[in-house]
């Protein structure tokens, strides 16, 4: 049972894909302007990672080794297109806001990385959990960064005025990608000062 617990908890803190493995940086800079977009992106990546890990793990014994990357790509691409189509049908405004970044989930190293490193060598259920946990680890950082960027950049949270209601002047720099990188660096710094074993 502790192995299961490890599979789930490790990617969220000690092996967090963004802050420890430094994967998926590009999209985390792009979609963290607002909390709403960040949440949808986090959910989308979690679903894509979890389901494609699960499918690839089911197929792991049958996939010809020479074309395994291509097969993985086909599975991931299918999931990404499905997520995009569903968003277009049910959350059109958010899909428009996230625009190309949903399609670019396919290039997110976390998805392929987890399939190669975990799903191909493990049973379906642990793979599903691993994908889920990595997606959540990614989402957690996204939401932390988006929280600060939206709060100080637009003075709102989920579009509801918070700081702007008490006369705060929006900081335009928070909305631009460079500030996301700086914030991300701060998150990495905070995590490494809490857990000294992560320091190199």
């Amino acid at each position: 049972m502790s192995k299961f617990k490890d599979t789930i908890l490790n990617p969220i803190f000690k092996g967090n894909p963004i802050t420890v493995l430094i994967l998926g940086i590009c999209s985390s800079l792009a979609v963290t302007v607002e909390l709403k977009g960040a949440c949808v992106m986090a959910l989308s990546v979690t679903i894509v990672t979890a389901v494609s890990s699960f499918i690839c793990s089911l197929l792991r014994k049958t996939i010809p080794n020479r074309v395994r990357i291509i097969i993985q790509l086909v599975v991931v691409a299918m999931m990404v297109i499905l997520v995009d189509q569903v968003l277009k049908a049910f959350a059109y405004a958010i899909d428009k806001q996230l625009s190309v970044y949903i399609g670019l989930i396919i290039t997110n190293c976390i998805v392929m990385g987890r399939i190669e490193a975990f799903a191909l060598g493990n049973k379906p259920i642990p793979s599903l959990l691993d994908g889920l946990a990595n997606g959540l680890g990614y989402g957690l950082i996204l939401i932390i960064v988006a929280f600060f960027r939206e709060l100080f950049g637009s003075g709102t949270l989920f579009g509801i005025p918070v700081l702007s209601a008490i006369g705060y002047t929006n900081n335009g720099l928070m909305i631009l990608p460079p500030m996301a990188l700086i914030l991300l660096g701060c998150v990495v710094w905070a995590q490494r000062s809490i857990d000294k074993s992560l320091q190199e």
Partner: protein, 243 residues
């Protein structure tokens, strides 16, 4: 089983591809009606925003049904006009029919010699909304320009884009102050350029020009080109209406 021989590999990849294609085709079939409804409501809310009925974000919060209902209540008629400026067809306003949903991303409409039919949306308050489509820096830009009853004064505008740079070219959509510049300006069909977006700032007192976005020359030029090309196509219609 030897999963590395060639026949197995080819058969395996083929089967996987066919299965995935089937799943995607099925999903696309099932979701298409909802996606089209969303796209139509989006087009209508862009038209309504251009005509200054409400801000785009407000309309988004209304939901599709209310947006379409509002459009039906306020539209007087929607017509297609040809190159000679004659009205050739009416769109069904009771069904909130709009032109160009499928051509939303038409980068270059082309205006085949004298053979085009393009839409005018006329609202009960006398405002006419005309679409424009063009090529920005990275992809298509498009939008709607709302003209007052004299078909000369601009009462509002709304623009959208597929992939312009956020913070630079993306301002045509995201920066309300860019759009606000259009309000109160007018178009001048007598001039070579009916409307200008001027890099470095529009000259004081020129009523048919606004400032371009700094750092987004290509997007500004693309939008300016789109506006002029389309206003030119409507020239005969506008003149016929004013006589």
């Amino acid at each position: 089983m030897n999963t590395n021989n060639n026949v197995y590999t080819i058969v395996y990849t083929t089967v996987v591809c066919v299965l995935v294609a089937a799943v995607l085709a099925f999903a696309s079939q099932k979701l298409k009606p909802m996606q089209e409804a969303n796209e139509k409501a989006e087009t209508i809310s862009q038209i309504l925003t251009a005509a200054q009925f409400a801000e785009k974000d407000e309309l988004g919060a209304w939901g599709n049904a209310k947006v379409i209902e509002f459009f039906k209540d306020n539209i007087n008629k929607a017509v297609l006009v040809n190159a000679q400026g004659e009205i050739v067809k009416s769109l069904d306003t009771k069904k909130a029919e709009v032109w160009g949903t499928s051509q939303l991303k038409a980068q270059k409409y082309g205006f085949p010699e004298g053979k085009y039919e393009i839409p005018v949306y006329i609202f009960n308050n006398g405002v006419s909304v005309l679409p424009v489509y063009g090529q920005g820096l990275w992809g298509p830009v498009w939008g709607y320009i709302a003209l007052g009853g004299d078909l000369k004064t601009i009462v509002g505008a709304y623009f959208d884009h597929a992939s312009e740079t956020p913070g630079l070219g993306g301002k045509i959509k995201d920066d309300p102050s860019f759009r606000a510049q259009f309000v109160g300006k007018s178009i001048d069909l007598e001039k070579a350029k009916a409307f200008e977006i001027v890099k470095g700032g529009a000259p004081q007192g020129q009523s048919n020009a606004i400032d371009a976005i700094s750092g987004a020359t290509m997007t500004s030029n693309g939008l300016s080109g789109a506006i002029n090309e389309w206003l030119d196509a409507y020239k005969n219609y506008i003149e016929a209406q004013n006589n």
